[in-house]
């Protein structure tokens, strides 16, 4: 079953006519890990925004967990995101006033589905286990605020938050860009391992090809996106 299906997707920024995305066909199955590489500014993050339902794409179809995002209202897209998507941001985007544990549990607060998958009343235990898997199981660590963490620790918290409650699809937008090369490999291994445990499909965006061999499939974004790339474009 395809967790993600994209057909004839096209997107142009508001008040512009030239499309920045034009993708004829992309599918990702459950449990699959896809490495999407491409140069900065080529539109990778815009594609993730389209998949997450943050931007409205017309024409075209984006289906996540069997639901057509384009046919949904804004609040329904928010709920779909809560129920079926885990996102790891490039700059992590942890809530500064929440502890490590509360940050990880955040999706469960907004999605009964995710909470149920995380064990319902035992969601906190699931979060602790997840964090322990990422090497953050220390009791004192759980109570820390993001501002008290190193970049590597923040990144692992962001990954745990994306994985809590076993989402159907995990989107990761260059999550290793702030890490040293040693830490990158370690993080990717951990991340893939946790995704496999929860049987989540993963779309991992990066322009660091050294990470590519760890994934089950690799895609070149410029080949996927048929829009001509501007010289020196950056996002």
């Amino acid at each position: 079953m395809h967790v993600l299906a994209i057909r004839d997707l096209s997107y142009a920024w508001p008040r512009t006519t030239a499309p920045v995305l034009s993708i004829r066909d992309l599918t990702i199955s459950a449990g699959e890990s896809v490495f999407l590489r491409g140069p900065s500014g080529s539109g990778k993050s815009t594609l993730l925004s389209a998949i997450a339902g943050v931007i409205e794409t017309q024409p075209g179809m984006v289906s996540v967990a069997g639901q057509d995002i384009g046919a949904m209202r804004s609040a329904a897209r928010d709920q779909l995101r809560a129920d079926h998507l885990g996102i790891v941001f490039q700059v992590f985007n942890l809530v500064p006033y929440l502890s490590v544990l509360d940050n990880v549990l955040l999706p469960c607060r907004f999605s009964p589905t995710r909470r149920a998958r995380a064990g319902g009343g035992n969601a906190e235990t699931a979060a602790r286990d997840l964090l322990a898997g990422f090497g953050l199981g220390d009791q004192a660590m759980l109570r820390r605020r993001p501002g008290d963490l190193s970049v590597g620790q923040q990144q692992r918290v962001a990954a745990a938050r994306a994985l809590i409650g076993s989402p159907d699809l995990v989107l990761a937008d260059e999550p290793t860009s702030a890490l040293d090369s040693d830490l990158k490999a370690e993080f990717v291994d951990l991340f893939l391992s946790e995704c496999k445990k929860s049987a989540a499909a993963l779309l991992f965006v990066s322009h660091d090809r050294t990470l590519e061999p760890s994934f089950s499939r690799s895609l070149e974004f410029t080949a996927l996106n048929t829009v001509p790339q501007a010289e020196g474009a950056s996002c």
Binding site: A52, A82, L85, R109
Partner: protein, 446 residues
């Protein structure tokens, strides 16, 4: 959502504390004004709970009430002793107490009356006046002090006081040849009684004996039984204007040892009736009294007149207090709105992990509710503390019983309205959040 709101608020605790303080102070102010008004009214109303009618010479109901029961101002004219006797003789009259006034001691009004005053006068819920020291009237030139008078002047049983004519300090031309000896001190009542000095009617009359007729009621006050030559003095001038600012007493005729003296004229009569149902018929009889023009005042009705006059000031004060509350809530609205920009990233993250705009609006709603509740509780606590500190002072200085207490039903209703307005004020930033986050979209690179 509650936990999230609490944590979010804790993250902004400094600006939050200021907002809560602003609301708390405005809540304390509006509740304080309400309580002060109620306490003042209750204090006024409870001053003469046992009196059915107050009879004075024809004049303003309020003036008679204020002069006789509260020691504020003076009655415009006097009434004859014979009238008092006629009133006392009415079959509907259970008791009648004569009152004479016009003199002061250190601005505390001196009331000339009889022992009957202490038997029949009651305050609050029918409480009788009681002595904490002394024996009550003991001779013509004895005096009983209200609690506040004793506290303020330092006078005690056995001490003496010299009455001043009208208000103001004692001067050489005042009644320095008629000192009153303190023979009793009343227990505190929390009413204007605490600020009064009571002397026997006969003793009061001694101060105002004159051998020539006077236009002023007090000048005409004759101690009919006072005939001893060795106490004869001259009153060259005796001017009792309503304000009683200046008075000259050059001479007095009196007998300080004559306890049975009665004046020709007095200022008012407190009347207790055998049945309340007869109040209006007696009032009508007094209004039609032929020997001299009289006014019979129903204390409750006169108080309503007073409230209608003071109501404008009360309403103005209340409007000001409401304006302060509105300012406090606007402060909260400003705080919530001002932080929206700073919180845009926070809201975007929440939306990214699945919070709908409705849930973020609910978050703001809960935050506003928590801020308002904290402000309301803070206001009640501040008021309680202020009342605890100020209650004894208010009771002593102005006779208002403002004991601290939990909010009553009417106050809870007011707090409910403030809560509703406070929570409703969060709708505006909540709507703004919805628009802002949807318009901006969620930038994954944030």
């Amino acid at each position: 959502m509650l936990k999230l709101a609490c944590l979010s608020l804790a993250n902004r605790r400094f600006s939050l504390a200021l907002t809560v303080l602003a609301i708390a102070l405005s809540v304390a102010l509006i509740l304080g004004i309400e309580r002060l008004r109620d306490a003042a009214r209750e204090g006024f109303a409870s001053t003469i709970s046992g009196v059915d009618l107050i009879v004075g010479s024809r004049g303003s109901d309020l003036q008679i009430l204020l002069a006789t029961a509260y020691g504020v101002g003076f009655t415009s004219n006097s009434l004859g002793w014979e009238t008092y006797e006629n009133l006392q003789a009415l079959p509907q009259t259970e008791w009648a107490v004569p009152l004479a006034m016009g003199d002061t001691y250190r601005d505390f009004p001196i009331i000339g009356t009889t022992e009957a005053y202490f038997e029949h006068f009651s305050y609050g819920k029918g409480q009788q006046l009681t002595l904490v020291d002394g024996v009550g009237f003991d001779g013509t030139e004895s005096a009983i002090l209200g609690a506040e008078v004793a506290r303020s002047t330092g006078l005690s049983v056995g001490g003496t006081l010299i009455a001043a004519h009208g208000s103001g300090p004692v001067r050489s031309e005042d009644h320095d040849d008629h000192p009153f000896t303190i023979t009793g001190i009343l227990a505190a009542t929390g009413t204007p009684v605490d600020r009064m000095i009571y002397v026997p009617l006969s003793g009061f009359a001694l101060l105002h004996v004159t051998d020539k007729p006077a236009a002023d009621p007090l000048e005409g006050m004759m101690a009919t039984e006072l005939t001893e030559d060795d106490h004869t003095n001259e009153h060259d001038s005796h001017d009792h204007a309503d304000e009683h600012d200046t008075h000259d007493h050059d001479a007095h005729d009196h007998d300080p040892h004559d306890h049975g003296a009665t004046p020709d004229q007095i200022n008012a009569v407190f009347i207790g009736l055998t049945s309340k149902s007869q109040t209006l018929s007696v009032q009508r009889w007094i209004a039609e009294y032929e020997d001299e023009p009289l006014t019979a005042v129903l204390p409750g009705a006169a108080l309503l007149q007073l409230w209608s006059i003071t109501g404008i000031a009360e309403r103005t004060l209340r409007i000001v207090a409401m304006a302060v509350v509105v300012a406090g809530i606007l402060g909260m609205l400003t705080m919530l709105s001002a932080t929206l920009e700073a919180r845009r990233r926070e809201f975007a993250i929440l939306r990214a992990v699945g919070a709908t705009p409705g849930k973020i609006g609910a978050l703001l709603f809960v935050e506003a509710a928590l801020i308002t509740i904290a402000g309301l509780l803070g206001g009640v606590v501040i008021l309680y503390l202020v009342q605890t500190v100020s209650a004894p002072i208010l009771s002593e200085r102005v006779g208002i019983d403002l004991a601290p207490g939990l909010p009553v039903v009417s106050e809870l209703r007011l707090l409910g309205v403030i809560f509703a307005v406070g929570v409703a004020s969060s709708l505006l930033p909540a709507l703004r959040v919805y628009r802002v986050t949807v318009n901006d979209g969620l930038n994954l690179r944030l």
